[in-house]
């Protein structure tokens, strides 16, 4: 091989190396070679969180620049943003640090601002707002968890008893064992009733087997779900209620902690049996309701009305309580 060819190859090889180095440099440092292109804005934050040099600046999701530098300035952190030339940012636009992924991938998001307001000049400061990041969200969830734990533990003592007189379940168990015969008969009757319901007989049967009605129910339920956002306040309420139940106040409290109330319950169950007997035979109003479908049409319109009523109710108290129950069921 002659010398000229060798020299040419070495030269070419070296140029290739230079080119590759330059390309790598350009790609990794986001075109820092053109330092003077575009203009800078300063965005001050309480904390820059995971933001670092070279992260993107996006306006409405479109990349319009990069974070050129991050620095501490007095009592705040500043990000110097290098905005592409030709991109105008309204002076009332707000910048915020946006999370693109769970682990440390952030960018600066700038909103469009209002139309017609003058653009920001080079070196100007842009308004900023704080957005919750993953850490604050985690902290909130942590607090909520603690509250729930408190509520559940007092609920637990109510159910399992606090060592004297037995808990709710023990009492219920006793109640059921004592009345097992009556309950058995009631169950048989209920079975008959459900069979009828299943066949579409009677108003409730129609109610269950009619799809249009079902849709309306679903709509109603979704409204209920929407109110579930009030769960937190309910948890607090629930804690209070449980406290009352424990001290024997209120209907449920009496039921659980009072012996005479238990006797009443026993006679109620006896009554319930006779009622269900009658129901099975088609006696009485409810019996008719089950065995006769004349009431179906009017029931349908009633549910429609209930639906509208739910619309109006919004987030008033009782519905909130129902909402949390419904939410836990669906």
């Amino acid at each position: 091989m002659n010398n000229l060819q060798q020299t040419a190859r070495v030269g070419l090889f070296f140029l290739l190396g230079l080119a590759l180095t330059w390309v790598t440099f350009e790609t990794l440092s986001g075109g820092k070679l053109f330092k003077n292109k575009g203009y800078t804005l300063i965005a001050g934050f309480e904390s820059l969180k995971e933001l670092k040099d070279g992260d993107e600046v996006r306006m409405a999701g479109v990349k319009i620049g990069v974070v050129e530098k991050t620095r501490l300035a007095g009592r705040r952190a500043e990000a110097v943003l290098r905005i592409d030339p030709g991109t105008k940012i309204a002076n009332d636009a707000t910048a915020s640090i946006v999370m693109a992924g769970l682990i440390g991938t952030n960018y600066i998001g700038i909103d469009l601002g209002s139309e017609g307001s003058p653009p920001l000049a080079d070196g100007a400061e842009i308004k900023t707002k704080v957005t919750p990041d993953i850490n604050t969200i985690m902290t909130e969830i942590g607090n909520l968890g603690q509250k729930l734990e408190g509520a559940l533990s007092s609920f637990g003592t109510t159910i399992n008893g606090d060592g004297k007189g037995g808990g709710l379940f023990q009492k219920l168990d006793k109640l059921v064992t004592e009345n097992s015969e009556k309950v058995g008969a009631t169950m048989t009757n209920l079975q008959e009733i459900t069979t009828k319901l299943n066949k579409g007989e009677g108003t409730i049967g129609r109610l269950i087997n009619d799809p249009t009605l079902h849709d309306q129910l679903v709509a109603a339920v979704s409204e209920i779900q929407a109110t579930a956002a009030q769960a937190k306040t309910f948890v607090a309420d629930a804690q209070g209620i449980i406290a009352q139940v424990k001290s024997g106040k209120g209907a449920l409290g009496t039921l659980v902690y009072d012996e005479t109330a238990a006797d009443n319950l026993r006679s109620t169950v006896a009554n319930l049996r006779s009622v269900s007997d009658k129901l099975a035979k088609g006696e009485g109003t409810l019996g008719k309701l089950i065995n006769d479908d004349t009431l179906y049409i009017s029931a349908q319109s009633t549910i429609k009305k209930a639906d509208r009523a739910l619309d109006g109710l919004g987030d008033s108290g009782p519905i909130t309580a129902v909402g949390i129950v419904a939410n836990s069921l669906f």
Binding site: G17, T21, T24, F25, L28
Partner: protein, 251 residues
Amino acid sequence: MKQITIILEGFGSTLLLLVRSLSYLPSLPRQRARFIEQCYMIGYTTLPIVAILSFFIGSVLALQAGYAMQNFGAKQFIGSLVGLSMARELGPVMVAILLAGRVGSAITAELASMKVYQEIDALVTMNIPPARMLVMPRLAAVLVMVPVLAIIADLVGWFGGAIVAKYVSFISIEPEGYFSVLRRYMKFGEDVAGGLIKAEIFGFGVVLVCCNIGLNTRGGPREIGAAVTRAVVVSLILILVLDYFVTKALM
């Protein structure tokens, strides 16, 4: 005791050779032809093996990382893992090791045989210092060529990783995602340039040590082979020891 003396002697003679060679640096323009020839040897002819090796190292990195990371859902970070490992560590070390095996051994063999067959002595009597004619052009060539080899190793390794990330079924990461993560977590100054500096230091050290061992060969033709073995072993040790200290210094 004797071993320690030998090691210290090696250090001393290497440093001496370095100082002598550097003092001849002004004669480089006159030795252009030799410089180009060494550039060709060190850079151009080493390129294919560097490319092949770095491609597969990048691929294996991506494969192993993908296998390990799929369990905890971090496999989208393969790009940065391959990128950083290639640029910061594997690229420079691999280039240096290839240089030791391919170029360093050839240099030692050539200089050792010149020494054994008295060609070095002839140069000295002709008042042509071997450091000027045989060592300096090589050192200059390695300084110019190693960064080129290292950047090629980095890039080829990244692409190897990208291909594996795309086509291996349990990884399946598109090149766009791979490179965007790679770009996001890498800086040119710290990672790529730092790696090039490392490669530069390793390559320079390898060539210097191989030259020194070659020039200090004593005895008959049998010693040539022994010198080559010694040069490669010393180079490999040097690379890994330097690696630790240079990496620490660059942090």
